[in-house]
């Protein structure tokens, strides 16, 4: 009987600890937590909101880049404001960004030193309880408890997998451990209690480099970060193992890295189809958000193998022409972000390869980042009368050198069995 009562007491105290903890956190940290708003100057109303948290006594606040991206891209159109827990509002200035990890540092004015969040110095353990703070849907500050599940395996840029209901509006808010130290920043959700966080080390790195040298030009800082990230991505890919896999009677490359995932499909079950088609698609699951309808950093590779069942070669070639007439870039970008594509075409036979292709290569330049391009390639085999192998990729946000190295390796990896 005593044992049962003590068990029950322990059980209830655990539950109340969690809620108690949440209460304590809420009370202590609320003054250092802000709603960050982007005000459209022309209408005077807020056009986007997110959360932010103070990380120094003199008013430096951390938030997500995508919360203030409108201002970063069009500083004349917007102003950044904070709303604190007392309902006070004032202006913020943008100090530094990390566009790859979706972080930004903004500065408020302080009349005296204030309380701030400290960043943790070690990584949480798997299963550890964490608390996500933020301002979802403009409803006011909340605390969401959740669990640390380690780093997402298939990301190229580290993200923490957090099981907790991270909602939009909480972007930029901190995730703290039970000692109120920041271990992550809310960045994205995939619904149903699956959320993603930027690890605290990225914020620490941004903060340290900000302290060492203050950025004068946000665009230049972004350009440099994008170029560094694409160099790292392309070099990692080029140095990895390119496993050559069979697709029908063709051989295609699949890059053996965890952050590129492949899917396949075929119409082998459709007896009345005139063509037997097998497709494989490999893509990078993440991309970098720059503004509104402008994304970069994505990569997608697409392969199609076709075999005519009982067709003349003329009809076969006529039919499969439709399969690549609608190639499009993989990332969204508009007239102000990029130029139109310029293309070239030629008949190419790689050395030692037994395939002859009509190859088409297209590129377009970024208007705000002078060394970056989006590239697109299409290779169509033209040496067999009843089979065809189409290879295609789109890569966004690469330098000319990365683009040409990647294209060369890709072209040399596609062949017949």
């Amino acid at each position: 009987m005593k044992g049962l009562v003590s068990l029950l007491l322990i059980f209830f105290s655990c539950i109340s600890t969690a809620t108690e903890q949440a209460e304590v956190i809420f009370k202590q940290l609320a003054p250092s937590l802000y709603q960050i708003r982007l005000i459209d100057k022309a209408s005077g109303e807020k056009s986007s909101i997110g959360s932010g948290f103070q990380i120094t006594a003199d008013g430096l606040i951390a938030t997500n880049y995508h919360v203030i991206s409108g201002y970063a891209r069009h500083p004349e159109k917007y102003k950044i404001e904070y709303l604190d827990d007392q309902g006070n509002r004032a202006a913020l200035t943008l100090k530094s960004v990390d566009v790859i990890n979706d972080l930004a540092l903004v500065q408020r004015e302080v009349s005296e030193p204030m309380a701030y969040f400290s960043i943790a110095d070690k990584v949480p353990s798997k299963g550890e309880e964490l608390f996500s703070l933020g301002n979802p849907h403009d409803l006011g500050m909340i605390v969401v408890p959740g669990t640390y599940n380690g780093l997402k395996k298939e990301s190229f840029n580290d993200r923490i997998h957090f099981t907790g209901s991270v909602n939009s509006g909480m972007s930029g808010g901190p995730v703290v451990n039970k000692y109120s130290k920041v271990v992550g920043i809310n960045v994205a959700t995939s619904g149903n209690q699956i959320g993603f966080l930027v690890p605290h080390q990225k914020l620490a790195a941004l903060f340290n480099s900000y302290q060492q040298s203050q950025t004068t030009n946000i665009d230049q800082q972004m350009a440099q970060q994008l170029e560094q990230n694409q160099a790292k991505l392309i070099n990692t890919i080029l140095n990895s193992d390119w496993q050559l896999k069979k697709l029908g009677n063709g051989v295609i490359p699949t890059v053996d890295v965890p952050f590129i995932r492949c899917w396949g499909e075929s119409n082998a079950d459709k007896a009345e189809a005139l063509l037997m088609v097998a497709v494989a698609n490999c893509s990078l699951d993440e991309n970098t958000y720059i503004a509104g309808n402008f994304f970069t950093g994505s990569m997608e590779m697409d392969f199609q193998y076709m075999q005519a069942k009982k067709l003349s070669d003329t009809k076969f070639y006529q039919l499969f022409q439709r399969r690549f007439s609608r190639v499009m870039p993989g990332n969204k970008a508009g007239k102000d972000d990029v130029t139109e594509f310029e293309c070239q075409h030629d008949i190419v036979m790689p050395e030692q390869q037994n395939i002859q292709t009509k190859s088409i290569f297209c590129t377009r330049a970024y208007k705000s980042f002078s060394n970056l391009y989006d590239i697109l390639y299409l290779g169509i085999s033209i040496d067999k009368t009843d089979q065809a192998l189409i290879s295609h990729f789109t890569v966004a946000g690469v330098t000319q050198q990365s683009a040409q190295s990647f294209t060369k390796k890709f072209m040399e990896s596609v062949s017949w069995k």
């Binding site: 870039p329 139109e340 594509f341 070239q344 075409h345 190859s359 088409i360 040399e412």
Partner: protein, 321 residues
């Protein structure tokens, strides 16, 4: 003293011609006149052309609407006629010619004429129309991703063939309405020969586009082939259907060609959006047996692409806000 009086249309085309060996000719709507006109604006006795021993004169018979020279500016009453004068009576016109009036030199029939006459020969005509219909049907077959039977191809093929007959029919109609020989079968024959020639130029264009790389500067010359064919077709339509001077025929053919080419290009450019995310490239393909050029190496292809990067870099700088 003989006199020739021609009834002519507004465009000075000959409607009727009368030759008289008398010294006085009555013209009017009345049935007692020497020349009986049907125009209701002409009086029963409208005018008389009389030879007074020295020259022919026009005498107006107090008509309601009068008679005029020079398309209505000067009255013709009392006018001394010169060979070739045109007199307006009511809404009609007559031209007076004297026997010594010079005629244009005769034109020799060229061997060209024989060639043209070949086109209306039933064998040529039927063969050409059949070739056109068969090719149309075959193209429908090639473009259909599902299985098709003969009837499904037959109907659109015949339909398209009939549609293409509209142009020669139209030309013949205009020809007929302007009082020329319609020569319907010749027009149809010529048109279908040229439609079939267009299949040939299409094939040549595909062959060139398939085999050349984007570095090859002359690829776009193949566009001139169909334009040249269109010009020849229009020129022949004019030659067969109308009596025109060489210069006029040339100008008409050039004009029609420019209209078609210019018109289709204007429509194409008006549909082009201000900015497109879709890459524009030439992906013309043919079966392997039509591959006649050398392949390039991967390294050369990559090196060629450097120029693309330079071009888009320049374009990015140009359009900066």
């Amino acid at each position: 003293m003989e006199i020739i009086i021609e009834e002519i249309s507004r465009g000075h085309k000959l409607i009727g011609r009368h030759k008289f060996a008398q010294s006085s000719v009555n013209i009017g709507r009345g049935y007692h006149s020497d020349i009986i006109l049907a125009d209701p604006h002409v009086c029963a006795e409208h005018l008389t052309i009389k030879h007074d021993g020295e020259s022919w004169r026009v005498i107006d018979q107090d008509s309601i609407n009068g008679c005029f020279l020079d398309d209505g500016k000067k009255t013709a009453n009392g006018h001394i006629i010169r060979s070739g004068d045109v007199i307006t009576i009511g809404k009609s016109q007559i031209r007076v010619i004297f026997p010594h009036h010079p005629v244009d030199t005769s034109i020799t029939l060229s061997p060209f004429e024989n060639l043209i006459n070949l086109t209306k020969h039933p064998v040529t005509l039927i063969t050409n129309i059949a070739i056109f219909a068969l090719l149309t049907g075959w193209i429908f077959y090639l473009n259909n991703p599902k299985e098709v039977n003969f009837t499904q191809l037959f109907v659109p093929a015949i339909g398209l063939t009939l549609m293409f007959t509209i142009w020669p029919a139209l030309v013949s109609l205009v020809s007929h309405l302007t009082k020329n020989d319609a020569r319907v079968f010749t027009q149809i024959g010529i048109c279908f020969i040229f439609y079939n020639l267009t299949w040939v130029t299409d094939f040549i264009e595909n062959l060139v586009r398939f085999n050349t790389s984007s570095q090859f500067p002359l690829t776009n010359i193949v566009i001139l082939l169909p334009i040249a064919l269109a010009f020849c077709l229009f020129w022949l339509n004019c030659y067969v259907g109308f009596h025109m001077s060489n210069k006029r025929r040339l100008l008409t053919a050039v004009g029609l060609t420019l209209l078609i080419v210019g018109g289709t290009n204007v429509i194409k450019y008006s549909k082009k959006p201000d900015f497109t995310v879709k890459p524009q490239f030439d992906s013309t393909l043919m079966t392997p047996n039509f591959m006649v050029t050398q392949s390039n190496s991967v390294d050369d292809f990559i090196n060629d692409s450097s120029k693309l990067f330079t071009d888009v870099r320049k374009a990015a700088k140009e359009k900066k806000k």
